[in-house]
């Protein structure tokens, strides 16, 4: 394809396969080797670039996705021969050791400071939690970002930057691809149906955070790809009377930035805040999370307790399915060939209901859930439980609901004794598997134990104004 985009402030038309990974386009074809690759699967952040000013993982983006976009790599961050203030600050604070994570860190921090000029240390730590640094222990990186604006007089640039950048572009010699898989980005639904008809075996994708990992691992090898990211109607978030309708291509970050979601659906917002990393939240979409249908999918338990349903559409019409009917097992859904997930419909939860989501992973970010619990609790006047909905993730083939436990809790007092009393039954009912992350016994035990957190969280939620769900930040403040 002829790709037209702006790279480091220069409008370019590049002849490249739409199927080429952005990181390869940058490094090999354009010689912009400041963009590093550390894993190829979105787990390290070394390949971070800015697309239209926002950080993206170039290992999980196809060249075709860059059409019309403005790309900034580390080579283009400083507009003059002086270093960018963040670059100066990294240098001055000793935040650079081996330097391999540095470009990705600096660009991630650039995005953060554009959004939020004076973040505190816990906000900085959250913002860079998708960028692994193996050398520094992060402390000096956080220092550098915190003090980027005030304590960092400019540092003179290293010699000959401009020429070397130019030279590098000329030195680059792309190694061509032999699998020139077509990639389409329809801009209207009609165009989409035509493409699906013409390429019935094409694989549809949205954020690409799963698909590009599978393509790299050769787990899938579709003859064509159709990206849904440019379909405007899949990006809308709208309140429609008694429900909120979320376009399937809405990214997790867009959801978190929307007050309708954070104020009305805190349980979903809490789950989204713990999903993947800031990069993954920006690229991954709610529709993609549902269609992937992983037992560990972080949006599934909250959407389950919210009684969400999905709106499926094809060239022939549309239908609405409950979440339970939509997800039929690990990795499988009721989507028919030629059908797409258009939106997620979330009924408005009862006002004043208590929302809670907790995920147990093996670390505080970039974590795949080992067990998770979403809870929606309505309290009666006397403080007892009027209605409770509980959904567990990662302890069964898909979301686990236990109606008998919910029934047993109804009418009971909101205290630890109540929840402790149902633990044995929860243990009995859950049937997780053992895998490389955790054993079945641990998952079962911890999934049940998460219920014991509810009274504590409930009493905290009765206290005035706590920002929803910022549990990670909260625990660090505690620390």
């Amino acid at each position: 394809m002829k790709l037209s985009c702006s790279i480091n402030g220069v409008a370019r038309t590049i002849d490249v396969s739409a199927n080429r990974r952005t990181v390869d386009l940058l490094r090999e074809d354009l010689g912009l080797t400041g963009t590093k690759e550390g894993c190829g699967t979105g787990e390290c952040g070394a390949c971070t670039i800015l697309v239209d000013g926002r950080s993206r993982l170039s290992c999980l983006m196809l060249a075709g996705q860059l059409e019309g976009r403005r790309i900034t790599t580390i080579e283009g961050l400083a507009e003059t021969e002086q270093l960018h203030p963040l670059q100066s600050s990294f240098v001055r604070h000793g935040a650079v050791q081996c330097g391999f994570c540095t470009p990705g860190m600096v660009l991630t921090a650039t995005d953060l400071l554009d959004q939020q000029p004076h973040p505190d240390r816990s906000e900085i730590a959250r913002a860079i939690s998708g960028n692994i640094c193996r050398c520094t222990g992060y402390q000096k990186i956080i220092d550098a970002i915190e003090y980027a604006d005030n304590h960092s007089p400019p540092v003179a640039a290293a010699p000959t930057p401009a020429q070397s950048r130019q030279q590098r572009v000329e030195q680059a010699h792309p190694t061509q691809t032999i699998t020139d898989r077509p990639v389409f980005f329809p801009e209207s639904i009609d165009q989409l149906w035509r493409l699906i008809a013409a390429h019935p075996d094409a694989r549809l994708f949205c954020g690409g955070t799963d698909l590009l990992v599978w393509l790299r691992a050769r787990r899938v090898d579709p003859p064509a790809l159709i990206g849904l990211e440019r379909l405007d109607e899949l990006h809308t978030i709208a309140a429609t009377g008694d429900a909120i309708r979320i376009g399937a291509a809405t990214s997790h970050a867009e959801l978190l930035a929307n007050p309708l979601i954070t104020e009305t659906l805190p349980v979903l917002a809490q789950a989204l805040q713990q999903l993947g990393s800031p990069h993954i939240r920006r690229m991954g979409t709610i529709g993609g999370n549902l269609v992937t249908a992983s037992p560990a999918g972080d949006t599934l338990p909250p959407l389950s307790v919210l009684d969400a349903s999905v709106d499926l559409v094809s060239a022939d019409g549309s239908r609405i399915l409950s979440l339970t009917d939509f997800i039929s097992g690990p990795g499988t859904t009721a989507l028919l060939p030629g059908e797409i997930l258009r939106s997620v419909i979330v009924p408005l939860p009862p006002p004043k209901a208590f929302h809670h989501f907790e995920k147990v992973g093996l670390r505080s970010a970039l974590a795949c859930s080992v067990a998770s619990l979403a809870a929606l609790i309505e309290r009666a006047q006397d403080g007892t439980i009027r209605q409770v909905r509980l959904a567990w993730g990662s302890v069964g083939p898909t979301v686990t609901r236990l109606p008998e436990i919910e029934a047993a809790l109804r009418g009971e007092s909101l205290n630890e004794t109540t929840f402790a009393a149902v633990l044995p039954a929860v243990h009995q009912a859950l049937s997780p598997i053992s895998d490389v992350r955790a054993g079945a016994d641990y998952r079962r035990q911890v999934a049940a134990n998460l219920l014991l957190r509810l009274p504590e969280m409930l009493s905290e939620s009765s206290a005035p104004a706590q920002r929803p769900a910022d549990t990670v930040a909260a625990s660090r403040r505690l620390a």
Binding site: R27, E28, L32, T33, G34, T35, K36, G38, C39, G40, E43, C44, A46, I74, E75, L83, V91, R92, H93, G94, V96, Q97, C98, G99, F100, T102, P103, V106, I124, R126, G130, I132, R134, C135, T136, G137, Q139, I141, A156, A157, A158, Q171, H173, T175, T177, I178, L362, R363, S364, L366, V370, V436, G439, Y442, V446, L452, R453, E456, S475, A479
Partner: protein, 771 residues
């Protein structure tokens, strides 16, 4: 930090020159080269842990258009063996496969896609052999042998050290504690995976640009393995994108050289994907450790017994040296009169174990410092007090029997800890735990020896030159893998020559352009190289002052001073520009090199010459005391580190920011080692072969880190420094295990302390009758 355009002194935080290029993305790592006409090389790996390789079928792959070469062991003219002590690892398997990552065939192709297709087309025939995965089982007489030619079977290395009455020392102990510890296989997980590129010219000389810690040793190993004379191989070593020991020795070098020699004139690149790095790269040795520690009632240590098994995998990737360093440090930094130490590095069909920051010490320190807390608890003594009472001082015999001759700042570190708020407010911290949570504080004290030991010469040759343009070039043949040693060299030379650092040019390791300086490892990099550089720089200074005084008709060159860009005659204030001096002098007159050999221990506490060959004993030790503050979530078992303090004795600090950067980074890696990092292997197959399943700490998993130093000066150290690169990773595991016990009275001896293990122990604690 001070800028590079003014003069700096030792002890100032000078800006690292490499940070300026790295932060702009302009530093060219080995992986950043895509020369014109590039070919891609890749390896077909065995996928089975043990077997006889009967044949390799390469025809199908070779027929694919765009495949330039398909090579097997038959194409190798040299020994086809690599290794540092025992050369037992084939470049390409010739007869026996010993682990899943063993390379069976090498393919060179025009593109990565063609390469991938061709690798899938390679078939090989194998007669499976019984594998062995457990180091203890591997030592049994009926165990399958990995190297039938090795005289000691699967025992790559064994050593036994007895000091005082040895085991009999326990007879007089009032108290004795025992423990059995398991330490995991940790991956280096540097962000720049193993890679390089090579080109052979038509007369058979091959140049290899590679991410390595050991360019000069690589040159010899490649030459020997491929049957080349050493002058036919050139190794160029740019800055590494992390290494930590994982690039100490051959990774891609011989394969690249072989590929390049078969495609002369074409550059050939090899870049292991993350999964291949896990599969074929080295890891930290998993270890099993049996400890007994005895003391009198007052808490004076009396006897120690240690048995250690290090799982070295199928090849001697410094496994014996790791086991030797481990056992030398097994008794910690304490006086213990009666000691019995046994260590073994054992061949198995697991992934290859090798050098990793700490080099055997993190394993034994995890055990020993856990034992110290167990003993303190038994004696109802404060853990800090027990350590103070037994801390080594200069002149003491260490537990392995050698005499500690260098500076020891351990007591100073312990004293500093005693008054630190994180220690003095530990009861407040304990009381601040919320529901279902418990809080604790743990400490650990460690020592870490520097250098190669008594027999292997620990040497470096530094060279420094005044260039005709008035700048200086410093040739450093030892790699900077990110730790900042290269910047430290410039800082030292800049201080001696009184020049701003940006008037100094660093020549990175290149076997054609720099002198051999040994490996970037063993906490010896800066110590040894700087000890060569300082005399070279001083000699050059004297030489330039003398020449300048002659040119200015000054009698006494002591009236001359180097100032930025010039030599100044102080009484008259007249200058002679360095550029003028540089252009007037011939190169021989403005070039100085100096060779240095580090001092080595002369005493022989053990008559085991093999143990001495493997590095025992060391002469100079750094010391540290660490403190960890943890919160344990009793519902999930999750351990979070709330705050962390390290207090180190690494001699005098040259660049405080570089020093604290080393400690902070090592602590973060140590927290990973303690809590979450574990390369899980099931019958030789790695189950955590990517960064989604191998769990590295993120920015949200590392707490605020406080780094302090007691800045004693080491007599033999350059400007008084001692090694600082490794010691920071020795203490986090035991400090965290001790903190967890302090928090919730569970003692975990199997690392990492995963939430699953912690919750299991908490369940056991709450319900001891349950199995």
């Amino acid at each position: 930090m001070t800028d590079n355009d003014r003069t700096v002194a030792i002890g100032e935080s000078m800006i690292r020159p490499d940070a300026l290029t790295k932060v702009r993305g302009e530093e060219r790592f080995a992986v950043d080269h895509y020369p014109s006409g590039l070919l891609w090389a890749g390896v077909k790996r065995a996928g089975i842990p043990h077997g006889h390789l009967l044949s390799v079928v390469t025809d199908e792959a070779a027929k694919i258009p765009g495949v330039c070469a398909v090579l097997t062991a038959a194409d190798i003219n040299g020994t086809n063996r690599q290794g540092v002590i025992r050369k037992d690892q084939p470049v390409l398997v010739d007869e026996r496969i010993r682990h899943c990552g063993d390379p069976v065939a090498l393919v060179v192709a025009e593109t990565q896609e063609i390469l991938a297709v061709a690798l899938e087309q390679i078939r090989f025939e194998v007669e499976p052999l019984e594998p062995v995965f457990d180091p203890c089982a591997a030592l049994r007489s009926d165990a399958p042998l990995l190297h039938p030619d090795h005289p000691d079977g699967n025992a790559l290395f064994t050593a036994h050290i007895t000091v005082g009455a040895g085991e009999n020392g326990f007879a007089d102990c009032a108290e004795m504690v025992e423990g059995e510890f398991d330490l995991p296989r940790q991956a280096h997980a540097f962000l720049e995976t193993e890679n390089g590129w090579a080109r052979a010219d038509n007369d058979g000389r091959v140049e290899i640009t590679v991410s390595t810690q050991t360019p000069f040793r690589d040159r010899s190993e490649v030459a020997e393995a491929l049957g080349l004379s050493v002058d036919r191989v050139r190794i160029i070593a740019p800055y590494c994108g992390g290494a930590f020991g994982g690039k100490d020795g051959i990774t891609v070098q011989s394969l690249l050289a072989l590929a390049a020699l078969h495609c002369p004139g074409r550059p050939v690149k090899m870049w292991w994907r993350r999964e291949e790095s896990f599969l074929a790269g080295v890891k930290r040795h998993p270890a099993r450790l049996l400890y007994r520690l005895g003391a009198d009632r007052s808490g004076t240590l009396a006897a120690l017994s240690v048995e250690a098994w290090f799982d070295t995998g199928p090849y001697d990737h410094l496994g014996g040296v790791v086991a030797a360093l481990g056992i030398e440090h097994a008794g910690g930094p304490y006086r213990i009169p009666h000691v019995d130490l046994k260590t073994r590095a054992v061949y198995t069909n697991n992934p290859v174990s090798g050098a990793f920051r700490g080099f055997g010490v993190p394993q034994v320190a995890a055990a020993m410092e856990s034992m110290m807390d167990l003993l303190a608890r038994r004696l109802q003594l404060c853990p800090l007090e027990l350590r103070r009472r037994n801390a080594l001082v200069r002149g003491d015999h260490c537990p392995a029997g050698s005499t500690r001759q260098g500076s020891i700042g351990l007591t100073a570190c312990l004293d500093r800890l005693a008054t630190h708020p994180l220690w003095t407010t530990r009861e407040q911290w304990r009381a601040a735990a919320g529901p279902h949570r418990s809080h604790g504080t743990g400490i650990a004290a460690v020592a870490h020896g520097m250098g190669y030991g008594p027999l292997v010469p620990d040497t470096a040759t530094a060279a420094i030159e005044l260039l005709p343009d008035g700048r200086f070039s410093v040739q450093a043949g030892v790699v900077d893998m990110g730790q900042g040693n290269a910047a430290t060299y410039l800082q030292m030379a800049a201080d001696i020559l009184n020049q701003p650092p940006d008037r100094l040019l660093l020549i990175l390791p290149d076997t054609d352009r720099t002198f051999p300086c040994g490996s970037s490892s063993a906490s010896r990099t800066t110590f040894t190289y700087a000890n060569a550089l300082i005399p070279a720089a001083r000699k050059l200074r004297e030489l330039l002052l003398a020449r300048a005084s002659e040119m200015m008709l000054v009698q006494d060159h002591r009236e001359m001073l180097l100032v930025p860009g010039a030599v100044r005659h102080l009484p008259s204030g007249r200058d002679i520009e360095l550029a003028r001096l540089g252009s007037l002098l011939s190169r021989d007159e403005r070039f100085v090199s100096h060779h240095y050999r580090a001092p080595a221990a002369r005493e022989t506490p053990s008559d085991n010459s093999n143990l001495r060959l493997h590095g025992f004993p060391h002469l100079i030790f750094s010391h540290a005391v660490h403190l960890a503050r943890v919160e344990v979530d009793e519902l999930t078992g999750r351990v979070s580190v709330a705050a962390y303090l390290s207090i180190s004795d690494c001699g005098r600090i040259i660049n405080p920011v570089v020093f604290s950067g080393q400690q902070e980074g090592a602590v973060a890696q140590g927290i990973g080692y303690a809590l979450c990092e574990d390369v899980l292997v099931d019958r030789g197959q790695i189950r955590t072969a990517d960064l989604a399943t191998y769990i590295l700490p993120t920015s949200l998993d590392v707490p605020p880190l406080e780094t302090l130093a007691v800045s004693l000066s080491e007599h033999d150290g350059p400007f008084g420094l001692k090694g600082a690169g490794e010691i920071g990773i020795d203490a986090p595991a035991p400090a965290l295990a001790n903190a967890v016990e302090d928090a919730c009275s569970i003692r975990l001896t199997r690392f990492p302390l995963t939430a699953e293990r912690v919750l299991g122990a908490l369940t056991e604690r709450n319900n001891p009758r349950r199995s």
